[in-house]
C-alpha cells in the first residue's frame, strides 16, 4: 500500500471513531489523499467538488427519492398494516405465528418499497408492540424485524440495486437486477422464518393464529389494492412500459391516491411534512453517494482495484476460495460502512477480480447486496439496527446477541447465493433478460 492510501484508510477510520458524519469522513479522507497524490490542495478540492456534482447528476438515481417518498406514504397510510393483516392470515398458523407474520410482512413491504429502514420503522412500529403483548421476548422481536427487513433490498424494487447499476457504468441493467433479486430474497426470508420457528418452539414463544378461510379472503381483498402496486411497478418496468424512475414516480402517485383518497389515513395537511422528511432522507443518501463517488475516483486513480485484484489472485487461484475471501472482506467492511458507500466503493475494487473469474455482473451484484445486508444489522454502523432499536425502545447492546441466530441464517443464504448462480440468474434468463 502506498503512502496516500495509508493516509486515506487511517484518516477515514479515525474520523469515523470520532463520530464525524460518514459522508464527511469519506469526503475529508478523499480530500487529504487527493491533495497528497496531486500535489495541490486547490486542484484536489475543485476535482472533488466536480466528482460530487456529476456523481448525483443522473436520471436513474432519481428513482431513489421517489421510492423513499412512496415508502413514507405507505408506512403512514395504512398500506403496511393491510399487508401485515394479509401475512397474519397466511402464515399466522405456523409455529411462532407472529414471528412468521413479521418476516412475511417485511418481504411484502419490501416488494412495494425500496428501502429496508422504511420496512423496519413501518412494519416494526406496530408488530413489535403486538409481539410484546403475546409475550415474545423484546430483543428477539427487534432482531427478527431488523434482519427480516433486509430481504426488501433483494426483493424489487430496491434502491441499492439502482446504485449498483449506476456504478457498474451500464454493464448491468436495473431490470435484470430486479428480476435476479426475487428468488434470493425469498430464500433468505424462508431461512429467517425457519430459524424463527425453531427458536419460538424452543423458548415456547407465541400462539398460533388460525383464521377461518373467510377471514383470509377478506384480508386478501383489503390488501388487494396495495398488492396491485407491486404488479404496476414491476410489471411496468419489466414490460418496458416505463423506466425504473418513472415507475417510482407512479408508485408515489399510486400510494398518494391510496393513502390520502381511498384509505384516508394521511391528511392533506400532513403532506408538506412527508415531502420534507423524504427530501432530508434523500439528501442524506445523495450526499453519501456524492462523496463516495469522489472516493471511488481517487481509489481508481491510485490503481487500488488492480493492486487488490493482484493481491487476491496472488493468494489463491481457486475461484471458490476467492469468492469466500471477497465475501469475508465485504462482511468486515459492512460492519463499519453504510451500504450505499460500500457498494459505490467496493464494486470498482472487486470488478477486475470478478471479471477474471468470469462471474456474471448481475450475480455479483446480488451477492454484494446479500452480503452487505448482514452489515446493516451489525454495530458499530448498522442503519437497520439503529432504526430497530429506536422503534423497539431497546439498546444495541441488548439486541446484538439476539441477532446471532439470524446472522447464521443470513450467512447460509449468502453462501447459497454465492455458490449457486442459478438462484440469481434463472429468472432473468427465463424472461429473456440476457
Amino acid at each position: 500500500m502506498n503512502s496516500p492510501m495509508l493516509v486515506l484508510v487511517l484518516l477515514f477510520c479515525g474520523l469515523l471513531a470520532l463520530n464525524v458524519p460518514v459522508a464527511v469522513a469519506i469526503g475529508l479522507s478523499t480530500l487529504a489523499t487527493a491533495a497528497l497524490a496531486m500535489g495541490s490542495f486547490e486542484i484536489a478540492a475543485a476535482t472533488i467538488a466536480q466528482r460530487m456534482a456529476t456523481g448525483v447528476y443522473s436520471f436513474s438515481l432519481l428513482a431513489i427519492p421517489f421510492f423513499i417518498l412512496s415508502g413514507l406514504l405507505m408506512g403512514q397510510g395504512g398500506i403496511a398494516r393491510r399487508l401485515t393483516d394479509l401475512a397474519t392470515a397466511l402464515v399466522g398458523r405456523f409455529p411462532g405465528g407472529l414471528a412468521q407474520v413479521n418476516v412475511l410482512s417485511c418481504m411484502l413491504f419490501g416488494a412495494v418499497s425500496g428501502s429496508a429502514a422504511a420496512a423496519v420503522s413501518s412494519i416494526g412500529g406496530f408488530i413489535v408492540p403486538e409481539m410484546q403483548r403475546q409475550k415474545y421476548n423484546r430483543e428477539f422481536s427487534v432482531a427478527l424485524t431488523v434482519t427480516g427487513a433486509t430481504t426488501g433490498l433483494l426483493i424489487p424494487p430496491s434502491n441499492i440495486m439502482i446504485v449498483y447499476a449506476l456504478v457498474s457504468g451500464g454493464a448491468v441493467s436495473i431490470t435484470a437486477l430486479f428480476l435476479a433479486g426475487i428468488v434470493p430474497g425469498i430464500v433468505v426470508g424462508l431461512l429467517l422464518m425457519l430459524t424463527a420457528a425453531v427458536l419460538c418452539r424452543r423458548h415456547g414463544y407465541g400462539e398460533r393464529v388460525v383464521l377461518p378461510w373467510s377471514a383470509t379472503w377478506r384480508a386478501f381483498r383489503r390488501a388487494f389494492l396495495s398488492l396491485l402496486l407491486v404488479a404496476i411497478v414491476l410489471g411496468g418496468i419489466l414490460s418496458g412500459a416505463f423506466t425504473a424512475t418513472e415507475a417510482a414516480a407512479i408508485a408515489v402517485a399510486y400510494s398518494f391516491v391510496l393513502s390520502v383518497v381511498i384509505y384516508r389515513e394521511v391528511k392533506p395537511r400532513d403532506l408538506p411534512g412527508i415531502l420534507l422528511q423524504a427530501g432530508v432522507t434523500t439528501a442524506v443518501v445523495f450526499f453519501l453517494i456524492a462523496t463516495s463517488m469522489a472516493m471511488s475516483w481517487i481509489l481508481t486513480l491510485e490503481e487500488i482495484p488492480q493492486a487488490i485484484g493482484a493481491g487476491l489472485t496472488g493468494l489463491t487461484d481457486n475461484p471458490l476460495l476467492l469468492l469466500l475471501l471477497i465475501n469475508l472482506l465485504l462482511l468486515a467492511a459492512g460492519t463499519f460502512m453504510d451500504m450505499t458507500p460500500a457498494v459505490l466503493i467496493f464494486t470498482p475494487i472487486f470488478w477486475p477480480v470478478v471479471q477474471k473469474l468470469g462471474m456474471d455482473p448481475v450475480h455479483f451484484g446480488i451477492m454484494l447486496i446479500a452480503n452487505l445486508c448482514i452489515g446493516l444489522c451489525t454495530p458499530p454502523v448498522g442503519t437497520c439496527l439503529f432504526v430497530g432499536c429506536g422503534v423497539g425502545k431497546t439498546s444495541i447492546a441488548k439486541v446484538t446477541p439476539a441477532t446471532l441466530p439470524f446472522f447464521v441464517a443470513m450467512t447460509v443464504g449468502l453462501l447459497l447465493i454465492t455458490y449457486v448462480p442459478g438462484l440469481s440468474l434463472w429468472l432473468p434468463a427465463l424472461l429473456g433478460m440476457k
Partner: protein, 170 residues
C-alpha cells in the same frame, strides 16, 4: 452575538425546509408529467428528465444542509458514547470544526472553482439551455449554509463548555 446567530440559523432553516418541500413536489410532478406526456399526449416531453436531474442536485445539496441541522447524517456514536461528558463535548467541537472545514474547502472553495471553470467553457444543458455553471452553484451555496450551521453549533457547544466550567469552579 450567539443569540443572534441562533435566531439566524432557525430562520434560515425554515426557509430551506420550505424550498426543499417545493423542490420535492416539483420533482414528482415533473416525472409524472413525463409519463403522462408520453402515454396520454403521445408526444414525449423533451425537457422533463433534464429538469429532474437539475432539481435533484439542489435537493441533495440544500437537503444536506438541513440534514446537518437535524443531525440526520449517519455517524458512529459508539466510541464517543463511552467518553465522560466533558470529553464528549470536546469531541463534538472537533466534529463541528471538521464539518465546517469540509464544507468550506470542498463545497464552497472547490465549488466556486467548479462553477467558474464550467461557466468559462460555456457548457449548457441541451434541452433547457441552462448554463451548467449555474446548476453547480448548488455546491457553494449549500457550502455557505453548512459553514454557518457548523460555526453556530461550535459556538453553542463552546458556550455550554464555559458555563459548565464556571459551575464547577464555584
Amino acid at each position: 452575538m450567539l443569540r443572534f446567530l441562533i435566531q439566524f440559523k432557525n430562520g434560515l432553516n425554515r426557509v430551506l425546509e420550505g424550498v426543499l418541500i417545493l423542490l420535492m413536489g416539483l420533482l414528482v410532478l415533473d416525472v409524472l408529467w413525463q409519463v403522462a406526456s408520453r402515454y396520454l399526449l403521445r408526444r414525449p416531453s423533451s425537457w422533463t428528465d433534464e429538469l429532474a436531474t437539475l432539481l435533484i442536485i439542489w435537493v441533495a445539496m440544500l437537503g444536506a444542509s438541513v440534514a446537518f441541522i437535524r443531525q440526520s447524517h449517519l455517524g458512529v456514536d459508539y466510541f464517543v458514547g463511552k467518553l465522560p461528558p466533558r470529553a464528549r463535548v470536546w469531541s463534538e467541537l472537533v466534529v463541528y470544526a471538521l464539518v465546517g472545514f469540509f464544507a468550506g474547502a470542498v463545497l464552497l472553495f472547490g465549488g466556486i472553482q467548479l462553477v467558474s471553470l464550467t461557466l468559462l467553457t460555456n457548457q449548457v444543458s441541451p434541452a433547457l439551455g441552462v448554463k451548467m455553471g449555474h446548476v453547480y452553484l448548488a455546491l457553494p451555496v449549500s457550502g455557505v449554509f453548512i459553514v454557518v450551521f457548523a460555526v453556530e453549533a461550535f459556538l453553542e457547544r463552546l458556550a455550554s463548555l464555559r458555563a459548565g466550567s464556571k459551575e464547577a469552579s464555584r
